[in-house]
Symmetry: C2
Subunit: 115 residues, 2 copies
DNA sequence: CTAATGTGCAACCCTTCGGTTGCACGAACT
DNA sequence: AGTTCGTGCAACCGAAGGGTTGCACATTAG
């Protein structure tokens, strides 16, 4: 429910590359920086940086297993971002308003709308 | 839903200033660049630029009335962005999965005209 | 017509940020 | 032990982008 959190989520998702990473991790279940970089036209360090940004936004969680660190998705902050959008759009679109209700009833996580 | 559209929406919402503008327009109903700039520590031209970015993302619509141009919210693209997030989160959170269903059943396309 | 208000456009700084290279450290495998 | 694989960190570079100033164009009031 903290505004800064929503802020970081949107900032993180604002970059197409990071959204691509989120998407990829979503389909793989989990992945390491080198794994992800293998299928991308960028360096491992670049991916690592983006993963750090995503982790800072709370969208992914890093877990060190032996000599590799696996990243998994932690989609809870997405709920907050969705709540923000639903809240803003509620005044204009009644269907989004209904969605906001849906989120408020526990879908998002610590779903307290408003920014 | 077109991927490029979602791209622009996230990019537009990625900036805190633009999100602030969206929020302000949401509460006011409609506003002009000078009106918005009056309550912000930035120039009118800066606001106008951000509004142009938001308009490009399809989040606001400009309407010239006499010598002033009023901006209103067109929250339709928000639905697409939410659908993207729900899609990604579906694999990890069944509740977000249910939300995805909800969006698929028609909440995504808005009543807003689009340019 | 003249003045004032509201915009739009263009050029220009300066910070931010994504990406790179290079190197050092920890962990597994032989 | 030594080697190899996977990370992390720091410095650097170039493009992108938000903000500014300045000016020209439209529209309304006197």
């Amino acid at each position: 429910m903290d505004a800064g959190s929503v802020d970081r989520v949107f900032a993180a998702l604002g970059d197409p590359g990071r959204r691509e990473l989120v998407r990829e991790i979503s389909t793989r279940g989990s992945a390491t920086a080198t794994e992800l970089a293998a299928d991308l036209p960028v360096t491992r360090q670049a991916v690592a940086k983006q993963l750090a940004a995503l982790a800072d936004a709370g969208l992914v969680a890093a877990t060190r297993q032996g000599r590799e660190t696996r990243y998994e998705l932690t989609p809870a902050p997405l709920g907050e971002a969705m709540a923000w959008m639903a809240n803003v759009g509620a005044a204009w679109d009644s269907r989004l308003g209904a969605l906001r209700e849906h989120l408020a009833s526990g879908a998002g996580e610590g779903s307290a709308p408003r920014t």
